[in-house]
């Protein structure tokens, strides 16, 4: 039996295509299907050239092949509006859904913080929060793992070119989802998220600032160590995740300044915000595959 889990990508846009290129290198995930709804999609053409099966009628175009092709993982890179239906249809066949949309039906997943728990529980739908969340919540967690964080605030600055129409039309969703996950996954009692879009040319690298207010005086040595360790954890799947400055301590305020350089697979390297989403999603799928291979979890039975 191959250790690789077979997968489908739903949505052949920028995110889906970048994910496709990353999966091609994976030791744990094998891409079998890529589905979309636009017959002229460049992403679907690219997939077809790579020998991936494609459908232009969305998830419905491959549902009858799920069992036959032994599809175990689905990545949804469409939109919040259609995610719930996609998830329902595929979960029915025992496919684990990794949600890259803001729908967030399932629990938030920030790989170095809580992925292992999700995998061990065999969560059938996990949500990848937002790009800003993937880039910053590990740092909030690094502080809250040392001591209580009363308030966590993140500011994500991204290049205009890397922000697609979906995010633009519903930018409130970014602020809400990210601040919610700063609390639920980051461990801050109260969370706040801010996004700034910058149109400079050449495009600026994604940068993120994380501020935490600790309840008691911050233990500078322990927090610094925890932050450095967490940076290394994220670098395992996003090598361009870089601590630029900090942690800086000012009273009970801890400030951390990050830069996220993408791998430049499909999206240019300045789009670290998109890269960290696709890398985190793939990391999530790989963890499920590893746990399955190690027999820590058992995938839903199939006849």
């Amino acid at each position: 039996m191959s250790k690789k889990l077979k997968a489908v990508i739903i949505g052949p846009g920028n995110i889906g295509t970048d994910l496709l290129m990353k999966i091609m290198r994976s030791d744990w995930v094998e891409l079998v299907w890529m589905v979309g709804i636009d017959p002229d999609s460049a992403g679907l053409k690219r997939a077809a050239e790579l020998g991936i099966k494609i459908s232009t009628s969305g998830v419905d175009g491959m549902l009858d092949k799920v069992i036959e092709d032994d599809i175990r993982i689905a990545f949804d890179a469409t939109s919040a509006y259609v995610h719930a239906e996609n998830s329902r249809k595929l979960n029915e066949f025992g496919v684990i859904m990794i949600d890259l949309t803001p729908a967030a039906i399932g629990p938030y997943c920030i790989p170095p913080v809580n992925l292992k728990q999700h995998a061990e529980k065999l969560e059938m739908n996990v949500n990848m929060v937002t790009c800003g969340g993937q880039a910053t919540i590990p740092m909030v967690a690094a502080v809250s793992q040392v001591q209580e964080v009363e308030y966590g605030e993140i500011i994500a600055t991204v290049s205009s070119r890397s922000v697609g129409p979906g995010t633009r039309q519903n930018i409130d969703e970014f602020t809400r989802t990210t601040s919610g996950a700063v609390e639920k996954v980051g461990g801050a009692k109260k969370g706040k998220a801010i996004i700034v879009i910058n149109p400079a040319e050449p495009p600026l690298m994604m940068r993120d600032t994380i501020h935490c207010l600790t309840k008691e005086t911050p233990d500078q040595a322990k927090i610094t160590e925890s932050v450095h360790n967490m940076v290394k954890e994220v670098q395992k799947y996003v090598p361009g995740y870089k601590l630029v400055n900090g942690p800086v301590f000012d009273g009970n305020k801890v400030s951390i300044f990050m830069e996220v350089k993408g791998l430049g697979d499909f999206l240019p390297d300045y789009a670290g915000n998109l890269d960290i989403m696709t890398a985190a999603a793939l990391r999530t799928a790989e963890m499920f595959a590893e746990e399955t291979y190690n027999q820590t979890i058992k995938l839903p039975a199939r006849a």
Binding site: T157, I171, D172, N198, A200, E201, R207, T209, H211, F257
Partner: protein, 342 residues
């Protein structure tokens, strides 16, 4: 320039843009006193919000003395004639804040985006228009792009439901010719029913001249703040602008002596520092940098020993936009490391 008989609606910024200069620490009593004075002087529209708009309360921009809701609930019921507006920057505030402001009784919502990113304002402008509020699209840092680009972005905001579009000189960089060019193109190409506004900063000493150029080119709403209380070297000082409009026989509806008195008796005494074109504020204008960066750069200078002026020039070179206050400490740290100061 002939502005005789032209109608100008003056919009006071001292209790919103002025919050930057006060590190968002204006008290409720001060808010009420200034707003009441402005109302009595005949100012028709007064903005009351955190300096960075609804939801701006944060470590990044500064926690205010009171919440937006507290300020609005204190000021709105005291107004006899004046209406109250609130600012909202998508990415910082959300439609939830917008609904809160509506419930507090604001008349005008101004949705602000960087001058190239108008498409993040669709849900907020749409919601404000649907709630039948006076809905303004506010294009910030308008000096960074061409008049044609401003027009393209203004048309987006107009299509979402804005009934007024602002050309906003957030950095106080523009000279009058640029204002004329941008406002003229907007006036020629937008729906004739769409109002036009101009928001200036005095960093290059041009706020009055720029505001006049805007009116001459077809803008009918002009932002200013009493005694100039605003970010950087402040906004167009309203009492001065009123006197100039008087001399030019434009119609503004404001009592000059009363607004002079509000400036002198109420606003100047509450300033933490003189609002003037000092070398750092001048650098904002000269380098085209967002005015509210001023105090952050000065604090970084005090903390890390890098001149505020050098930080601001570098921020300008990097093309930073409004809202990137977090970049200032980050950059100061990097510059201090390079110089071996830390």
């Amino acid at each position: 320039m002939d502005l005789k008989g032209k109608k100008v609606t003056l919009h006071d910024m001292s209790l919103r843009d002025g919050m930057h200069a006060k590190r968002h620490q204006i008290s409720i009593e001060q808010m009420i006193a200034v707003a009441t004075g402005l109302d009595e002087a005949g100012i028709p529209l007064i903005e009351v919000t955190h300096g960075d708009g609804l939801g701006g309360a944060s470590l990044n921009y500064g926690f205010p003395a009171h919440t937006d809701e507290e300020y609005l609930n204190a000021v709105v019921p005291k107004m006899k004639n004046a209406k109250v507006s609130a600012l909202l920057l998508p990415g910082i505030g959300t439609v939830d804040h917008l609904k809160m402001a509506r419930d507090c009784g604001v008349h005008t919502i101004r949705v602000a985006t960087h001058c190239t990113e108008a498409d993040v304002s669709e849900q907020h402008i749409g919601m404000a228009a649907k709630m039948q509020l006076d809905t303004v699209g506010f294009l910030m840092m308008a000096h960074m792009v061409s008049a044609e680009k401003i027009l393209e972005q203004a048309k987006l905001m107009e299509s979402y439901g804005a009934n007024c579009i602002y050309c906003t000189d957030s950095a106080g960089f523009m000279l009058p010719d640029e204002v004329t060019q941008k406002i003229s193109l907007l006036r020629a190409e937008l729906n004739p029913a769409t109002e036009l506004g101009f928001h200036g900063h005095h960093n290059m000493g041009m706020a009055i001249a720029n505001s006049l150029a805007a009116v001459d080119a077809g803008a009918n709403r002009i932002d200013g703040s009493v005694a100039g209380l605003g970010a950087g070297a402040g906004n167009t000082p309203l009492e001065v602008f009123v006197a100039v409009l008087d001399r030019m026989q434009a119609i503004h509806g404001v009592d000059l002596y009363k607004i002079m008195d509000v400036a002198e008796d109420l606003v100047v005494p509450l300033m933490d520092h003189p609002i003037r074109v000092d070398r750092d504020a001048l650098t904002l204008g000269y380098a085209g940098v967002y005015s509210s960066f001023l105090l952050f750069a000065q604090r970084a200078e005090a903390k890390y020993g890098i001149q505020a002026r050098d930080i601001l020039v570098e921020l300008g070179r990097r093309g930073t936009v409004g809202g990137q206050e977090d970049m200032i400490e980050d950059l100061a740290l990097t510059m201090a490391k390079e110089k071996g100061l830390i």
